[in-house]
Each structure stands twice: as structure tokens, then as C-alpha cells.
């Protein structure tokens, strides 16, 4: 097997040594804390084995916040390193590793799980279902994502981080030029979590097509459900490409094949082609659910139905189709020729049309609305101008001929941060403030929320706006330092200060969570925002069976209609029936551990050990095939107790009854 014991732990760098000690102490702290509080059994039965979509959603979101911290630290380190010319804070190799892990973690282990967390939490409630179509598969999806994320994060203390950029272009990412095991982590960890994401896509397509409650036609679905549906279709179309590309990468690195190598007839740019065939749809996989969140937030806090619902639906379908046919704009400079570059320039610019339609729809939704300036709404308001800057610079980059000038400069970096942060990060913050009471039964503090908002938005603009100008002046991306003579120093310093403010904004967010968990008022109604969609028609936090009686939908904005017409809000005792729910299962968590062990051995190229561990994966599949557990029934008494506990509270849904 040739185990390289001396390569396992990274030694010699004070920053990494510090992280190793911190990780060790945190782990001892967590294990000790759980043992001291005797919470192991609770952790296992309530969380690790759960198949409840709401709890899975919460676990996704917690993981995403942690990954946000990790990816954010990488970002800060980069800005510190470039704060002054010829800085010697990080060396070139360390800088390479950090921008690589920053990109991978922020896209795959922060943005995606954050949004998938909200999909899990909200979608079954919005369409009036009791769970997703395949609850246990859903748990497996989460645990595979978690396994991939942990494996990837392990890389920087054990074995070395990948260092070929988040795109991992060949030939650099190949064995010839990156002989270390860092890029094996990339191939294996992304593969494992990618499988989980693919399962999520399938699960949500089936859930939305098959599990909608009575009267919930497709064209009555809330916009977040629509965007989730279309996103799931894009996931199913594009993630298999990543799976295949990563498998070929693994073969190249581990078994000496020549798919992407320079020698032996490989085609290195084919990696770029396959990567972006997945990578561009991936941008819309994270952007569309974010658009959905903004649609919900804007409609709720403008107290109006979403303007141009049908055109919104056609826009997201149009974006989904176009997202599959623009991938070459990421590598115009490959030189595929004027024909190819022109076609892809046109398709790229066409995306601005449906996106523009959506923008105007949001603005018209707000027009003449009674806008409430909650923190969630502030994020949606800030999204509009910031995202437009990102979109317009995107059209500039989208023109093949012009792209030769901008390519590989900080202009591009500024552009995609101006797209991804307003769209995805602002959206997940808006969603967090909006749906937090649905998750935990108390609100996040609005005052700290405004600190969070202003610090983050100002910090964001200060960090990335200078990069447009640096890029136009010729500052290249991924360069760990620059000379005094270049004249870049002042703008880089502004960017550094901005990143500190950005970090303070995130700290305010974390403090807000801490403060609200400890001190926030628990005595709030289940519908604190006077919202429009069905997730607010039940208790907060939601009881495990979601709805005692499945709601019947008669129009768009179903819950608003119910409130205005006083229909379906009350529940009679005779209407109660036993509810069939799926049982918990430990198998997804065990699969996560087995995948993790097998993946770890594969990263270190200990093939026999990996093969032995992989037997466990097949054992898990076989056990699942012979699993005849059909779930359990919730008894009427339990339902009655739960329902009367929340329905009779002061200011509850009952307050709409008889209001006319």
C-alpha cells in the first residue's frame, strides 16, 4: 500500500499548527460537553437519525454557517496578504491553497447547503405536504454532503489542501504538475457531496410534482417552490456531468489514465469544457432559489401579490434553458474561434433578458406596496442595485472579444462576487431572518439585524468595488503579491479595510443568533410577518407532522386567501385522523461515516484499504434494499394535544377568524 506516514499531518506552518490545536480543542470540547450534559442519546435519536425535512434543513443551515466561517476566514487571509505590496504573511503555495478552498467551500459547501437547507425546510410546507417524497434518501443526501464537506475541510490539516483553484484546471491539477495528494481531496470530496446533491434534485422534483396538496396547481405554487422545482431540474441535468468529470479526474490522478493530461493523447481543455458544462448551470442552481427567497420576502413585506407571476415562471424556465448553453463564456480565451465565441456571446447576453424581467417584476411588486422595512426586506432591497452592478459587468464580460481584456483579472473576481454575494448571500440572510421563527419559534433581533445588514453591505461594496478598477488596471487574479511600482496598493488597502467590515457584519450575524437563542421572546404568533404562503398556516416551530389536516388551496397566495376569507383556519376535533409518518433511520449517518473512511483512504491512494471500506457502502445499500419499515402512525390524542397547544395561544391563527 505504501503508506506515507510522514505526509499525513501537515507540520511546520504556525497558522496551520494553530488551526490543528484549535480543531483538537473544539472536538474535545464538543465531545466533553455532550457527555457532561448526557445528550448523546438525544443527539442520536433527535438529529443524527432524523428523516424529518425540517430538522434536515436546519442541519444543512448550521453546516452552511460553519462553512461560511471557514470560507470567510480564507477570504480574510487573502485580503490581509494583499493589503500591502510585497507582503510576507502567506507564501505563494499557501495563498494558492487558500483561494482554492475559499472558492470550493463558498460555492459547494456554503451556498448550496444553505439554499438546500431552506428548500428542505420550506418546500413541503409551502406545497402543503407532510414530508418530501423520499425522506430517508433526503437524510442520505444531507449526510453525503456533510461527509464531503468534512473530508474537504480535513485537507488543510491532514495531507495538504488542493491548490489548483476551485476550477482545478488541467494540466495544473494533474499528477504531473500537482503530485501531492491535495487535489485528490478535491476529486473525492466533491464526488461524495455531488452524489448527495443529485439525490436532492431528484427528491425535490418528485416532491413538487407528486406531493402537492389539493388545489395546489403548478401555477398556484409560491415562487420559491417554482424556483426550487426548476433548480432541481438543472441539478439533475448538470450534476452527472460533474460526476463523470471528477471520475475521469480521479482515474487520471490515481490510476494513470490520460483523459486530461498533456502526454498520452489527453485533452487538457476538455476538463475546462466539462467543468463549465456543470459549472455554469451551477451558478443558476444557487441563483434561482435565491431569487425565489427574494420573491417571497418582497411580496410579504410589500403586502402585495407578486407582480407578473406568469412572466416570473417563464423567466426562470428561460434562465434554466439558457444556463445550459452558455458555458464557453468561461474560457473564450481558449481560442475556439470566432464562430463558437460569437454564438456563446449571444446566448450569454440573452440571459440578461429574463433576469431583467425578474428585476422589473420585483420593483413593480414593491410599487405602491405598503413596504415594511424589516431586516429581511432590507436584504432584498440591497440586492437589487448590487446585483444590477454584477449583471451589467457580466454582460461586459460576456462579449467574447471584450473578454480577452478582462479575462483573468480582478475585474472578473469583482463581477462574480457582485453576482453571488447579492444574489446568494443576501438571499440566505433574508431567508434566515424571514424563516427563523418558523424554525425555532422566536425571531432574530431586528436591531442587531440592522447592524449586521449595514456592516455587511458596506463592507461588501468596499471590498469588491475597488477590484473592478484594479482589474481594469491589469491586476491579475490569484496572484499572491504585487510590486510597489504597480500602483495597486491604495485600492488593495481599501479592499482590505472593506473585508474587515464585512467580517464584522458576519460577527454581528453570529452574535444575533447567540442573543436571540438566549433572550428572544418565545411568545410570538405562528405567523409573525402576516405572510402569504402555506408554511405560515401551521405552528412555529412546526410540529413533526406539519399539518393536522392538509390545507386545501383555492388561489395563489393560499394562506393570505385563507385569512381574508376565513376558510380552513380552524380545526374541528372530528376532522382529526391518524397520520402516517416515516420512521427514523441510522443508516444514512452510518453511510456518511463509511463513505468518509473509504474516501479518506482513496485520497491517500491506499487502494486496498479503500476497497475494503467500500464494502461497507455496498453492505449499506443491501441493508436498505431489505428494509421493510413502513413508518408509524401518529395517534389522534397526540395530534389533538399538539394542535390545541399552539392554536389556543393569544394572537394565534384564530385571530383571523371572525375578523370580517
Amino acid at each position: 500500500m505504501g503508506i506515507k506516514w510522514n505526509e499525513i499531518l501537515i507540520t511546520g506552518d504556525p497558522l496551520i499548527l494553530g488551526s490543528q490545536i484549535a480543531i483538537l480543542l473544539t472536538m474535545i470540547g464538543i465531545v466533553g460537553g455532550i457527555t457532561y450534559l448526557k445528550k448523546w442519546k438525544w443527539l442520536w435519536t433527535e438529529w443524527l437519525t432524523t428523516v424529518d425535512h425540517k430538522k434536515i434543513g436546519i442541519m444543512y443551515i448550521i453546516s452552511a454557517v460553519l462553512m461560511f466561517f471557514r470560507g470567510g476566514m480564507d477570504g480574510i487571509l487573502m485580503r490581509v496578504q494583499t493589503s500591502r505590496p510585497e507582503m510576507e504573511f502567506l507564501n505563494a503555495q499557501h495563498y494558492n491553497e487558500i483561494f482554492t478552498t475559499h472558492g470550493v467551500i463558498m460555492i459547494l459547501f456554503m451556498a448550496m447547503p444553505f439554499l438546500i437547507g431552506f428548500m428542505n425546510l420550506v418546500i413541503p410546507l409551502q406545497i402543503g405536504a407532510r414530508d418530501v417524497a423520499f425522506p430517508q434518501l433526503n437524510a442520505l443526501s444531507f449526510w453525503l454532503f456533510f461527509c464531503g464537506a468534512m473530508l474537504f475541510n480535513l485537507s488543510f490539516v491532514v495531507g495538504g489542501s488542493p491548490d489548483a483553484g476551485w476550477t482545478s484546471y488541467f494540466p495544473l491539477a494533474g499528477k504531473e504538475f500537482s503530485p501531492g495528494i491535495g487535489n485528490n481531496y478535491y476529486a473525492v470530496a466533491l464526488q461524495i457531496s455531488g452524489i448527495g446533491t443529485l439525490m436532492t434534485g431528484i427528491n425535490f422534483i418528485v416532491t413538487i410534482l407528486k406531493m402537492r396538496t389539493k388545489g395546489m396547481t403548478l401555477m398556484r405554487m409560491p415562487m420559491f417552490s417554482w424556483t426550487t422545482f426548476i433548480t432541481s431540474i438543472i441539478i439533475v441535468a448538470s450534476f452527472p456531468i460533474l460526476t463523470v468529470a471528477l471520475a475521469l479526474m480521479t482515474f487520471d490522478r490515481l490510476y494513470g489514465t490520460h483523459f486530461f493530461t498533456l502526454s498520452g493523447g489527453g485533452l487538457d481543455m476538455l476538463w475546462a469544457n466539462l467543468f463549465w458544462l456543470w459549472g455554469h448551470p451551477e451558478v443558476y442552481i444557487v441563483a434561482l432559489p435565491a431569487f425565489g427567497i427574494f420573491s417571497e420576502v418582497i411580496a410579504t413585506f410589500s403586502r402585495k401579490t407578486l407582480y407578473g407571476y406568469k412572466s416570473m415562471v417563464f423567466s426562470i424556465v428561460g434562465i434554466a434553458i439558457l444556463s445550459m448553453v452558455v458555458w464557453v463564456h468561461h474560457f473564450y480565451t481558449m481560442g475556439a474561434g470566432p464562430g463558437v465565441n460569437s454564438i456563446f456571446s449571444i446566448t450569454t447576453m440573452m440571459i440578461a433578458v429574463p433576469t431583467g424581467v425578474k428585476m422589473f417584476n420585483w420593483l413593480f411588486t414593491m410599487r405602491k406596496g405598503r413596504i415594511k422595512m424589516t431586516t429581511a426586506m432590507l436584504w432584498a432591497l440591497a440586492f437589487v442595485p448590487c446585483f444590477v452592478i454584477g449583471g451589467v459587468t457580466g454582460v461586459m464580460l460576456g462579449m467574447g472579444a471584450a473578454d480577452y481584456q478582462y479575462h483573468n483579472t480582478l475585474f472578473l473576481v469583482a463581477h462574480f462576487h457582485y453576482v453571488l454575494i447579492p444574489a446568494v448571500v443576501f438571499a440566505v440572510f433574508a431567508g434566515t431572518y424571514y424563516w427563523w421563527p418558523k424554525m425555532f419559534g422566536h425571531m432574530l433581533n431586528e436591531k442587531i439585524g440592522k447592524w449586521h445588514f449595514w456592516l455587511f453591505v458596506i463592507g461588501f461594496n468596499m471590498t469588491f468595488m475597488p477590484m473592478f478598477f484594479l482589474g481594469l488596471d491589469g491586476a491579475v487574479r490569484r496572484s499572491y503579491t504585487y510590486s510597489v511600482e504597480s500602483g495597486y496598493a491604495p485600492l488593495f488597502f481599501v479592499s482590505f479595510i472593506g473585508s474587515i467590515i464585512l467580517a464584522l457584519g458576519f460577527a454581528a450575524f453570529c452574535y444575533n443568533i447567540y442573543w436571540s437563542v438566549r433572550y428572544a421572546d418565545r411568545n410570538i404568533p405562528s405567523d409573525p410577518w402576516d405572510a402569504r404562503t402555506l408554511e405560515w398556516a401551521t405552528a412555529s416551530p412546526v410540529q413533526h407532522y406539519n399539518f393536522a389536516k392538509l390545507p386545501e388551496v383555492k388561489s395563489m397566495d393560499a394562506f393570505w386567501y385563507m385569512k381574508k376569507n376565513n376558510e380552513g383556519l380552524t380545526l374541528k376535533k372530528e376532522e382529526l385522523e391518524e397520520i402516517h409518518m416515516p420512521s427514523n433511520s441510522g443508516l444514512p449517518f452510518i453511510m456518511c461515516v463509511v463513505f468518509g473512511i473509504s474516501g479518506f483512504f482513496l485520497v491517500f491512494e491506499w487502494h486496498i484499504a479503500a476497497a475494503v471500506a467500500a464494502v461497507g457502502i455496498f453492505a449499506g445499500l443491501i441493508i436498505r434494499s431489505f428494509d421493510y419499515n413502513d413508518g408509524f402512525h401518529v395517534h389522534k390524542e397526540e395530534i389533538e394535544q399538539t394542535e390545541s397547544a399552539w392554536r389556543n395561544g393569544e394572537g394565534e391563527v384564530n385571530r383571523y377568524v371572525g375578523k370580517r
Binding site: 485533452l267 458544462l277 464557453v328 474561434g337
Partner: protein, 99 residues
């Protein structure tokens, strides 16, 4: 279903005969003509597509039963994705090889 079973399966017979015909034509083009390699590949490739479509409708019942809409959508979706990925990749990546 019962009603259908009793009728003479004219569709199946036509499908079977035309499949045979298409196969023989393809074999004939490949073995008995002196067309260029490129033309032969194009012709038998085209015939293969016709035959695949024929099989789908005559024997694999894509347009029958409860799920016919789903099946047709799935096949169309699969075709579009395949065309974009495979044909698109070949088109994009085949630069610089014809000079």
C-alpha cells in the same frame, strides 16, 4: 387493455417489417455500395435513428398508458441534454484540428 388485445396487432406487424427493412437497407448500404466512408456513416446513422424512434413507438409504448406524457417529456429532455453535452462539446473542442 382487453379491447386492444383482441384486435389484430397491425401496428406490431408493420413495426416488425419496417424494422427488418431498415436493417437490410442499412446492411446493404454498408456492404453493397461503393459510397465514401463518410456518406455511409451518415446514411446508416440516420437509419439507426429512424429505427430507434420506430422501436420506441411500436414496441416500447412511449405514447401509451398513464405515463405517456411523462415518458415523452423524459425522452425529449434526455435528447436535449445529450445533444447539448455531446454535440456541444465536440463542436467547442474540435478547434484547431482541421488545419
Amino acid at each position: 387493455m382487453d379491447k386492444k388485445m383482441k384486435r389484430y396487432p397491425i401496428g406490431h406487424v408493420v413495426g416488425f417489417l419496417s424494422s427488418l427493412l431498415l436493417t437490410f437497407v442499412a446492411a446493404g448500404i454498408a456492404l453493397r455500395t461503393s459510397l465514401s466512408f463518410h456518406t455511409i456513416m451518415l446514411l446508416i446513422g440516420g437509419l439507426a435513428l429512424v429505427q430507434a424512434a420506430l422501436q420506441l413507438f411500436m414496441f416500447m409504448h412511449v405514447n401509451e398508458g398513464e405515463d405517456r406524457k411523462t415518458q415523452v417529456i423524459n425522452i425529449a429532455y434526455g435528447l436535449i441534454v445529450a445533444v447539448i453535452i455531446v454535440a456541444g462539446s465536440i463542436w467547442v473542442m474540435s478547434f484547431g484540428h482541421h488545419h
